[in-house]
Symmetry: D3
Subunit: 214 residues, 6 copies
């Protein structure tokens, strides 16, 4: 893609990469295995973290991990929130189901924990969450949902084999081309997020495990 | 992650998903296989596309593909530019090398083409670009670069097997924990981007193929 | 092995395979996908099912699935109970950890559910159960436990590559040859059980999901 | 499954695990790589071994390997004999064909040798045995036999992908639900047995190699 | 490679591809699944086939399969005989062991049968032939032979991962660079031959199966 | 195959394997990683190399690598030229497309470079060459070409699964049985050549990279 800086790009400068004086940072205990120091929160991120505390009772560790760098945190939050919360032909539950089915293929502890909880909460069906974690094929899904997850899992395991006929399979169960974009975007995102979490050993907040167990 | 909308999140409303009146959109010929209509460019994106034209002579097709939705395009551009252009212990060439080595594992035609050209251009070494596309193990790399690419490829193929010893391998050749974050972030991103491109059959601009062939 | 019938072998005759008169059996709803009729319980199995009801509040569905044939049910119960409950250098928790780590590789919904609950219950650590289900590598294990699970997972994924040096790895962390037998026996058994459960679509009792969530 | 001891379960006590006084046991030369001492044969096992000697001229090494513990040996023999010898819609040859096709996927030297000999003997067709060992797809099988082996091999390589349509493929060539149970049970068992044999380096008796070569 | 015809190249002309008049050729029953007509044997091939009859009692089916085209047959025979029979630091038995270990990875019925017989015959050890077919790791090999087969199998399964350190492993057990060439050449050849045989369903002569069974 | 020397076989004797007196050979810099000394060219090979120089401006490194032994070089050249240049129902371009699609699966730097250039040159379509290297599924192929490459790639990745129905797929798009032989022969050959090149780290001549870039 274009190697061009723009207004929407980061204002970070070399200076911000200067090593902090004084003592070396510790690994972020309970957050991730890298020793990176939290940067001061920018105003919008401060507000966002406050909202997390208010609504969830905690700040998800993925955000704390990205908070070593405000530009990265803001970009991640914007990207993520558009993906999972913006209007879409896919319900929020469907997007979370994709998240978990993909994370199961990649055996990502962080995402299986956090998004498994989301499936349980959004569906009100704890078993559905477990099935997405363990093997989505055992769930009693609509043909639409099954096609959606089959596509997401094929994208995860052999994206280079995807061809027009696979997109046709989605259209055949009623997905629009915009829906296909959204399925692809969510499945792709968790293939990123799973790897990021595993690469730096990100740890989910303990609160997720007991959530929405029914 | 938190299901909370914030200032940095999208302002899109349900309305924007309304199907365009009149004729059905065509597949974006030469851009991707989905039939999505380009949205009117927002001001910053209009400026960004203009800069692309000025500096590259074309707008990369990945941007045209995302341009069916301004919120998605802006989020993608911000995320991407921070990743590939912001200050980092990794040079821009090193980030592009990771991009191509990862894309080779995923056999992503779009990314191999666009980022293969970037490696050729940034290194001034057309052969290095070919090696990243074909099999990065044949390149005469520094131990640092080799460790970086081995980690990126392990992340691509078996991220669930990554453990502290793999991060130690990176530290042993001189990477800081912040560098490790950046390696992980670039490798993760292209695992997303490769799958997005393959899922919607994104096509690279023809201009890339002949670039920087030496 | 020897093609020889013995006292310990089954007394079943051709007659027992005669199709039941009257209406065709239905799939065992909630138990498995095969339409097999429950046979009358033998005396020891009747006692065993009663004990299950008394101690667990339900009869595990795997037993109900095998109960179409008393010889098979009795052989399974004897084999299973010796494996998981007989004296061994491995604790019951360790045997359950192997069960879940193996079942995770094979994505077996039944065994992940039933034995994931057992790990949570025996360890008093719900998180440990989740980790075994999702990716055992993220758990903080003793070197002994880690070696045990690595061996079990190698047996699952590439048993033909096992050689003396892998057994030596187990001896090096303190396992006796008898312990190695037991590790191998448990890992092998769940490679059987996972496949049996998936082949006939065995379904875990609903009770497991909420057990020992902390 | 239920953590409940019953009449059919083992009577073994902790005492039996006490290390034998005096010299350390040697690896069981020609039987397996673990140094486990043979336990005194129980009465039924003594009779069984005598029958093996009488009918086969040798005691299969798998039995000698299990003979370090009578409870384990008896449970194994009972389970195995029911599986391979009890009345079934599958002939004994068909069960042996499954055994070998599964063992070929797992490259298990012990089982390929012992059960390859059984296929040669039961079929009177040495070539059929070789084909099961090398690649079952080259054999001229009935559609029924082919479907049976395809299912067994799918169970071996990707049991988590099995769904109703695969069971329907078996019903379509005439298998009853009870037959499907038996196919699944044999294929599952050898996925256990192959791994056990490889994990402890079990060695087949030399006698098998020359048997039934035509 | 060079697109240049030379003296050593074939003298075949378009004419030889003309379809034979009259009835369509039948599949070569017992030889392969393609319906190709045997061409008249050239003088050297006629002599070669005669020698085969004299020494082996049959013409190997691979030769009959190639005999639809004399240029192909002659090129194959010359290439093969140099590889397997010319002077080399590898004994003929070692070359056959490589052939079988490679063919086992590729599950090639033809080559496992024909070259399994060769290992049995050349070694005078029927068991060694079986081990090469089933899982070469179970054989009691010298470090030199083991390194040779490990390299051949790595070439078969992941040739793109081979690097200098793998060649060093061979040098460390005494192989010269010329020996490494020969190991590589034999392993490569059977990766060709296995695929050719499977692609056209080549069938080994029945005589092989009983040969050298001891 | 027959262990019989014939007129067409090599005249090489043990003597030719004698180690050269004096200094040890160096690795063939820029050709391969093995230290083998070039043998004096035989008359036909001398003529062939001269033709290469005249027509290509260089001698392909694969020939220089084989030139440590004239019998091997001559056998290779004869085999290769028949395969790629002899009359066939497949055009030379089609044979080169197979070569590159197979080499892409095996990630062979040498063959992707040399034969990628050939596809670019023969087709006059630089993009087609890139697509064969990166992922042949993205190219706009005729059904005939697509079936041909699908078969070649299946042969590369799972030759043991090939059955009559796969050959029927080729016949259905118009290939004769002789054409199927030729597809199989080319795909098989590059599975050999890829492995040989990777095993000895063969390096393509620099000239290839810039050839036919359009």
């Amino acid at each position: 893609m274009a190697k061009i800086k723009t207004a929407v790009s980061t204002a970070k400068t070399k200076k911000t990469l200067a090593k902090p004086k004084g003592k070396k940072p510790e690994p972020m205990q309970g957050v991730m295995a890298l020793a990176l120091e939290a940067a001061p929160l920018s105003e919008p991120m401060d507000a966002y973290f406050a909202k997390c505390m208010e609504k969830l009772g905690f700040v998800p560790n993925v955000l704390r991990a990205y908070a070593h760098d405000m530009a990265k945190l803001e970009a991640f939050v914007a990207f993520y929130n558009d993906l999972m919360l913006a209007p879409s032909g896919l319900s929020k539950l469907e997007r979370e189901m994709i998240a978990v089915a993909v994370s199961s293929e990649n055996k990502c502890f962080y995402c299986l924990t956090a998004h498994g909880a989301a499936v349980r909460a959004l569906s009100g069906d704890p078993l559905l969450g477990e099935m997405m974690v363990m093997n989505y094929r055992v769930a009693a899904l609509t043909p639409r949902q099954r096609a959606m997850l089959d596509f997401a899992v094929l994208m995860t395991n052999a994206s280079h084999e995807i061809e027009e006929r696979h997109r046709q399979d989605l259209r055949a169960v009623g997905f629009s081309d915009r829906d296909i974009w959204d399925i692809a975007a969510v499945a792709s995102f968790f293939n990123m997020s799973n790897r990021m979490a595993s690469a730096v050993d990100m740890r989910p907040n303990d609160e997720y495990h007991a959530q929405a167990r029914g």
